[in-house]
Structures are given as structure tokens and as C-alpha cells.
């Protein structure tokens, strides 16, 4: 009857397992005991220590943080826009970040600049969509959605233009960024902090979000200020998306599919849905990224391809089984 508790416990157990899986896989074979010692700070095997602490751990934590951010942002935006097809990128946040990143790549800037500019691009896009959708008439979710979709389409055109004129040596790097890639995600600290703060704020919004599912008027008559609520959700979801995109490019499907799978499995109560999305999204992306970098080694696949390849059939299977 109530499957929320077992699902949450299962996800809580699966999250560290996914990280463990990420730490144990790679071209250098490290035995379990050695992995433990290296992880806890033992220097007796210097190579293992370096591989774990400099390569695998930051990347695994980055993957977990990005997956959690995207799933959380997707869950929030789906309710905000009252549209099950919404994902973190539907309002053009990733488009703005992509254009800024690709232009920085064209200009030959270093990876620190790429990050900063990606974040600026995301913020710029957030402000444009927000400003345009508020201009004039009342701020309805359909207006916001349409504005976002059109702005995203505009960014898409600019992205195509950049790809068309970029020197071919740079195009592959650009494509990896667009598909979503964690190869350069070596500093997960900011993203993890953002995830923790984002989850805390989201939990504070969980019950109002439950009201919002019944419509804005219902939320207003049950004691929420819908205009304020909408604004907070929009800003929060945009910031979460911006953080994720800045670190890993636009990894697809996590933000769309993870919240849906959890709704199908455990219902729409946001006090369950939001933390479960963080755990499931984080674990899912950690496993997907590990497979992407070690599955076809020495070739490294962009993880965005894998999330789609894994996510689409799982989601279709669940959808076919319910109802």
C-alpha cells in the first residue's frame, strides 16, 4: 500500500553502492581491501591512492551531484509548469550555458573560464525568460513554458551556427559538452554544496508543491501565495540546473525520467519525491558515468548517450506496465 518508505530505504542503500561501483571500476585494477585503505587515506599504495583521490572519487561525486541536481530540478519544473514533459532544459537554461561555453571554446579559453561562462550563460538565459514571460500580461505557467521553449529554440539555432563555423578540431569537444560529459568534472565541492542546499530548500517547499499539483487557485485558498511560490521554484530549479550544466554539460533524460519513475513507483507526495529524486538521480548518473568511461575502455563515451540508452527503455517498460 505505502511503498514510499521501502523505496526510500532502498535508494539510501543504493546510493553508496553506486559510488563504490564507480570507485572500483577503471583501467587500474584495485583490490577491495586496497580500495578501502586508499579511500581512508592509506598511502601504502601510492598509485591506488592517487587514482582514487585524484581521479575516481571526484568524478564519482561529481556524477552523483549532477544526477541529483538534474532530477531535483526536473521534479520541481514539472510541477511548476504543470507539464509532465518538462525537464531541466525546457526553459532554455542549458541553451544559454551551451552558447556561452561553445563561444568560450571558440575563443580558446581554459576550463576555468568555460565553467564561469557557462554559469553566466545559464543565468543570462534565466533572466531573459523570466523578464519576457513577466512582461505585460499575467504570469501564467503556459506563458513561462512558451517563452522558455522559444528562447531554448533560439539558443539551439545559435549552437548549430557555432558548430557549423567552428574548426573541425574543436567540434568533437563541443559535441561532447552538448551531449553531456563528466570527463573534466574534477571539483565536485560546489555542486555537492548546491545539491544539499537545494534539497533543503526543496523539502521546505514540499508541502506547498503538493498543493500546487491541485492548481494555483487551490494553493491560494489553502494558504499559499502562488505568485511567490512560483518565483521561488523557478529561481531554485534554474540555479540547480545551472550548477549541473556548468559541471557536466547538458546530460539528457535524467531530469525527465527519474521523477516520473519515482511517481509511478511511489506516488507524487513531494516529501517523498524530492529526496528520492536526488538519491535515484545521483545513483543512476554515477553508474551510467562509470559504464560510459569503463564499458568501452579505452574509448570514453559521453555519459549523456548512456543515460538516454538506459533511461528510455526502463521508462517505457514502467509506463507500459502501469494502468
Amino acid at each position: 500500500m505505502n511503498r514510499r518508505l521501502p523505496i526510500t530505504l532502498l535508494l539510501l542503500a543504493a546510493a553508496p553502492l553506486s559510488l563504490w561501483f564507480a570507485l572500483s571500476q577503471g583501467s587500474l585494477n584495485i583490490a577491495t581491501a586496497e580500495l578501502w585503505r586508499a579511500l581512508l587515506g592509506g598511502h601504502d599504495n601510492a598509485t591506488a591512492y592517487l587514482v582514487i583521490h585524484e581521479l575516481r572519487l571526484p568524478r564519482a561525486l561529481s556524477a552523483f551531484a549532477v544526477g541529483g541536481l538534474l532530477a531535483l530540478s526536473g521534479a520541481l519544473l514539472q510541477v511548476l509548469l504543470r507539464n509532465p514533459l518538462a525537464d531541466p532544459y525546457v526553459l532554455g537554461i542549458s541553451g544559454g550555458a551551451a552558447v556561452a561555453t561553445l563561444l568560450s571554446m571558440l575563443a580558446g579559453l581554459g576550463s576555468g573560464w568555460l565553467r564561469g561562462n557557462a554559469f553566466l550563460g545559464a543565468m543570462l538565459s534565466m533572466l531573459i525568460v523570466f523578464g519576457l514571460s513577466r512582461a505585460g500580461a499575467a504570469w501564467t505557467q503556459n506563458r513561462l513554458l512558451l517563452t522558455g521553449v522559444v528562447v531554448a529554440a533560439g539558443w539551439g539555432a545559435v549552437i548549430s551556427l557555432i558548430l557549423a563555423v567552428a574548426p573541425s578540431a574543436q567540434v568533437q569537444g563541443m559535441l561532447f559538452w552538448l551531449i553531456g560529459d563528466l570527463s573534466y568534472a574534477s571539483q565536485p565541492g560546489v555542486a555537492i554544496t548546491a545539491l544539499v542546499i537545494g534539497l533543503a530548500v526543496s523539502l521546505w517547499l514540499a508541502r506547498p508543491l503538493n498543493l500546487l499539483m491541485r492548481g494555483e487557485n487551490v494553493a491560494a485558498t489553502l494558504g499559499e501565495n502562488p505568485a511567490r511560490l512560483r518565483l521561488i521554484i523557478y529561481l531554485l530549479a534554474s540555479l540547480l540546473t545551472a550548477m549541473a550544466v556548468t559541471l557536466a554539460g547538458s546530460i539528457g533524460f535524467v531530469g525527465l525520467i527519474i521523477p516520473h519513475i519515482l511517481r509511478l513507483a511511489g506516488g507524487s507526495d513531494h516529501r517523498f519525491l524530492l529526496p528520492a529524486s536526488v538519491l535515484f538521480g545521483g545513483g543512476f548518473l554515477t553508474v551510467a558515468d562509470t559504464l560510459a568511461r569503463s564499458g568501452a575502455a579505452p574509448m570514453q563515451l559521453p555519459v549523456g548517450v548512456l543515460t538516454a540508452l538506459l533511461g528510455v527503455p526502463v521508462f517505457l517498460f514502467l509506463l507500459a506496465r502501469t494502468r
Binding site: M1, Q78, V79, R82, N83, P84, W204, R207, N210, L211, M213, R214, G215, N217, V218, A220, T221, L222, G223, E224, N225, R263, L264, G267, S268, D269, R271, R323
Partner: protein, 253 residues
């Protein structure tokens, strides 16, 4: 409890009501009648504080209703809307429990008392046993009664209802209006109901507002409002008046 102060509402330059002064008092069961597009829902939303009046205002306990914090207002006044949204799956119980929102702190989970209130409300709308049903499996009339149960769970003394009998079969139309009327007659309680059925209005209402589409409105005790000339002018159609057992019934001719 609730009153309008020179309330003027307009939609696209058309006056729906002009400098309306009505006082709604406890124990009264008001009905709002009018043709399609005459502004019944707009008036109800203005009374609920959801819509800014074009002029004048609405006072709840002598305070402008739009100045009252949402949460505080939700403990005094609840609304049943004309239609509902369901983009995401939810169960009957989850939906009905949202009515407890204004009575719970932000981090508080629903207690046994809240569950009891929800179950009592489901019993009142004859949906006992539907607790865990997903909303999408319900019929239109059952779904309507879930919304009514959520309103009952909110337990606000003032209830504004927009066509509560939508989608309901004959028996449930009577049952729901009976239940709502007996609620309104309790001390400190008040209903304002938008209805399309004149005969149900006559049977359960105590007072009425007639919204004519030229912007004029009549209001007062329902027995003074309901007459064939008034209703024919209201609905732009010829009516037949039938007297039976001391009651009057109106049927379109």
C-alpha cells in the same frame, strides 16, 4: 462575516456588478444565479480574495480579504472550484488531506486526527473505501465528491462553492446540497454557492444574488428573488411555473 463594499467587477469593459453592497451572515446559505458568462465565478473569486476588484472591495470579518495572509484566510474561508487539474497521479486520500494544509506547520506530518478528518469527509460524500484509489480511476462525479471532501477536510467556516453539483447524479446532487445546507445552518458557518438549477436553489438556499447580464444585480432573501419575471429576464427564456404541495417549480417552456 463577509460583505462587499461598493464592489465593482468588470471583464473587458462589461460591468458584471456595479457598486454591489451585500452582507453575508452566519447561518445563511446563499446561491448565486445567472446566465452563462454573467460573472458568477468572477464574483465568487472576488469574494474569495483571488481576484482584485475593479473598484470597491470585499471584507472578511471587517478586514479587506486581500490583506489577510493566505494561511490565515484559509482557516476562515474555503473554495470549491468549478474544475480541477490532474497532470500528476495522486490518490484520493492524498488529495483530501491537502485540505489540512492550513492547520499544519510546515514540517509537520499529518497526524491520526488529520486522517480521521479526511476519512470523515470521505464518509460524508459517500466515498468510504476509495481512500487509496488513484484519482484517474474515478468517474467525473466521484472526482467531484473528492474535491468536496477536500473542502470539508479544510473545515473552514465560510465555504464558497462553484457549481458543486457538476457531474453529480440526481441523488448525489440532493445529498451534497443537503449536507452543505445543514453545515451552513450551524452557528458561525456560511455558504455561498453558484448554481445553475433554479429548483435546487429554491429548495436549499436561504438568500440569493441574481446576476443579470446588463450588470444589474438583485440580492436578498431567496423567496423575494425567485419569481417568473425575474428568472425569465435572468435566463432569457420563457419559463413555466408549477405549483405543487406548496412549492414552486420552474421549467423551461
Amino acid at each position: 462575516m463577509l460583505r462587499t463594499d461598493r464592489l465593482t467587477l468588470r471583464i473587458a469593459d462589461r460591468n458584471l456588478c456595479n457598486r454591489l453592497d451585500v452582507g453575508f451572515n452566519e447561518g445563511e446559505n446563499w446561491v448565486i444565479l445567472g446566465a452563462n458568462g454573467s460573472g458568477k465565478t468572477t464574483l465568487l473569486h472576488a469574494l474569495a480574495g483571488l481576484r482584485e476588484p475593479d473598484q470597491g472591495g470585499v471584507l472578511l470579518d471587517d478586514v479587506p480579504v486581500r490583506d489577510i495572509p493566505h494561511r490565515q484566510r484559509a482557516r476562515r474561508l474555503g473554495v470549491l472550484f468549478q474544475d480541477f487539474e490532474s497532470a500528476f497521479p495522486a490518490t484520493v486520500l492524498e488529495t483530501v488531506l491537502t485540505g489540512r494544509y492550513p492547520r499544519l506547520e510546515r514540517w509537520q506530518w499529518e497526524s491520526a486526527e488529520d486522517y480521521r478528518a479526511a476519512e470523515a469527509a470521505l464518509e460524508a460524500v459517500e466515498l468510504t473505501g476509495f481512500v487509496q484509489r488513484p484519482l484517474i480511476t474515478l468517474s467525473g462525479g466521484e472526482r467531484r465528491r473528492v474535491e468536496i471532501a477536500a473542502l470539508l477536510t479544510q473545515d473552514a467556516p465560510i465555504c464558497l462553492l462553484d457549481e458543486p453539483t457538476n457531474h453529480l447524479d440526481l441523488r448525489h446532487q440532493i445529498r451534497m446540497l443537503e449536507m452543505l445546507a445543514s453545515r451552513a445552518h450551524r452557528p458561525g458557518h456560511l455558504n455561498i454557492i453558484v448554481l445553475h438549477d433554479v429548483n435546487l436553489a429554491a429548495r436549499f438556499g436561504t438568500h440569493g444574488i441574481l446576476l443579470f447580464d446588463d450588470g444589474e444585480c438583485l440580492h436578498g432573501p431567496l423567496s423575494d428573488m425567485l419569481s417568473r419575471p425575474n428568472l425569465e429576464r435572468l435566463y432569457h427564456c420563457r419559463l413555466r411555473e408549477i405549483h405543487d404541495d406548496g412549492a414552486r417549480w420552474y421549467l423551461p417552456d
